[in-house]
């Protein structure tokens, strides 16, 4: 098996291997390092002879590496004696592995891994990097590429995150049910951040980095399979499916963005829309939360044949509901856009002007972008042009900026 084959096995198995090792050693950082060492070893040895059970091989090897590491730590001598005894009775391959790979426990382990890598003691960047690394199985290089930061930065974030987890004495276990629901919000927000970063890059010259968005989508599917009774998990999954369904139509062949009204809806991924609607139905069981509401808005777009045929009244109602459960200036701004479509630009402008007066989105290019659009529709061209130029100055995405400048120029 070649390097790409090793990578494929790693991608499928990494979360379960790291999770099982963490339960075995009680040390999350050690488990992660040992698993990485096992992969390095696989890259050398598998091309010569591939094991019959690659996942078992990786787990057994990582387990040996973990024991080596513990052996080196004199302070943990007692624990080593315990593990050595366990190893002596269980062996390094075969039966002992089955016990580690008990399917029911593994599911809980992977879920616990998600909760640990999204633990509140970590910074947002730390949570994102750790989740992609230990749950997604991405390399530091891949994470760095996704977030346009240098590789050493990612490595430092991961190291720091692991140290923080160890220092805080975070136990390797699923949080109790009551706490889990609370912490689940953190897990969902990390997946959402990853998805958003992939679907609209905040900086750089490409509008989309779909690879990272699809990774978030895959992790959302995993979470939905492991936590099927949590409506908001299905809400987030629905939101990701419905948003990604539009990716094929969102950029022109030259990479420039195509606005919703100009998108060829025949390019939308119909099966992704279907999956999104299914997940949304599961999310609606007990009233929609913030992610479910956003998914419902995406669903209203996805099921419309054109911008004109879109049920904007319903979208306004959904944004009002969203503003109640998760108030934010961005939601207000989006509500204004929907109001403009449902009832005209004048009413919408009033909402945006309130946002401006309260200075609730300082420095964001979104407010002048929307304000410029509304002023254009109201025929107030010089003001519109000034707003769009301001928006272009504030915008950090090259592709988006050039669209704004084109629009400003068109106003003469």
């Amino acid at each position: 098996m070649d390097a790409a084959g090793v990578e494929a096995v790693w991608r499928i198995e990494s979360a379960r291997i790291v999770a099982a090792l963490t339960r075995f050693t009680g040390d999350f950082g050690l488990a992660e390092d040992a698993a990485q060492e096992a992969v390095a070893e696989a890259l050398v040895s598998w091309p010569r002879s591939a094991p019959a059970n690659p996942a078992g091989w990786l787990t057994a090897t990582a387990r040996r590496r973990a024991i080596d590491a513990i052996r080196r730590r004199t302070a943990l001598r007692d624990r080593y004696a315990l593990l050595a005894a366990d190893l002596a009775t269980g062996g390094t391959t075969g039966p002992a592995l089955d016990e580690d790979l008990d399917p029911d426990r593994i599911d809980d382990d992977v879920l616990a891994l998600m909760f640990i890598s999204c633990h509140p003691v970590l910074s947002r960047e730390g949570r994102v990097a750790l989740t992609l690394r230990v749950v997604g199985g991405l390399s530091s290089e891949e994470i760095a590429r996704a977030f346009l930061v240098p590789v050493p930065t990612v490595q430092a974030r991961i190291t720091r995150a692991k140290k923080t987890i160890a220092a805080a004495g975070v136990p390797f276990e699923l949080p109790p049910a009551a706490e889990r629901r609370e912490r689940l919000g953190g897990v969902l927000s990390v997946l959402y951040v990853i998805f958003t970063e992939g679907s609209t890059a905040t900086t750089g010259d490409r509008l989309l980095r779909p690879g990272v968005a699809y990774e978030a989508l895959r992790l959302a599917r995993t979470l939905a399979a492991l936590q099927p009774d949590e409506p908001e998990v299905h809400g987030l999954l629905a939101l990701c499916e419905l948003t990604s369904a539009r990716f094929p139509a969102r950029t022109a062949p030259d990479g420039s963005p195509v606005l919703l009204e100009d998108q060829d809806r025949r390019l939308w991924d119909v099966s992704a829309i279907r999956r999104g609607l299914t997940a949304l139905a599961r999310a609606s069981a007990g009233g929609l939360g913030p992610y479910g509401l956003q998914a419902a808005i995406a669903a209203a777009h996805a099921s419309a044949a054109s911008v004109e045929a879109t049920d904007w009244e319903r979208i306004v109602v959904l944004y009002e509901a969203l503003g109640r459960v998760a108030p934010s200036p961005v939601v207000e701004l989006n509500r204004a856009v929907a109001v403009a479509m449902a009832s005209g630009p004048a009413q919408a402008l009033a909402i945006v002007d309130e946002l401006v007066a309260a200075d609730r989105l300082p420095g964001s290019h979104l407010v002048p972008t929307v304000r410029g659009e509304l002023l254009t529709r109201l025929g107030r061209r010089p003001e519109a042009r000034a707003e769009l130029e301001l928006a272009a100055r504030l915008c950090t995405n090259h592709q988006e900026r050039s669209v704004l400048l084109r629009k400003a120029a068109a106003l003469g």
């Binding site: 989508l217 895959r218 992790l219 399979a225 492991l226 094929p248 025949r266 390019l267 829309i273 996805a302």
Partner: protein
Amino acid sequence: MAKYLLIMRGTDESNAAMMADIGKAMADTRQYIEEMVKAGVLLAAEGLDDPGRGAVVDFSGETPVVTDGPYGETKELFGGFFLLDVASQHEAVEWARRMPAARGSKIEVRRVPGDDEVPQQDGRFAPGNTGGI
């Protein structure tokens, strides 16, 4: 990520082996599907009915001719498929290797190209994505 279709191609031998212990075959398949669901990679999975109940529309002549069937060699017939969303062809192959397939059967691994890879004459033609919306 990219989409791959794993197409199951059974033979008389593998079908007979499967039917000999259909309970186990179904339990194994359920477990396999669950693994893929939990890995977040499964988009769709369907099995196909007896080929004898199907039909073939043959375009060999001037007008299409419809016949019952297909009744070709069993080993050439598709029995079902899994649609996966994975990072690489190697990952798709790795999942195919894990399929609880009966001895004698084959799994075809085929990539589903993205819209941006399909030649588009007028920028509007997008095979595989021509649903109602």
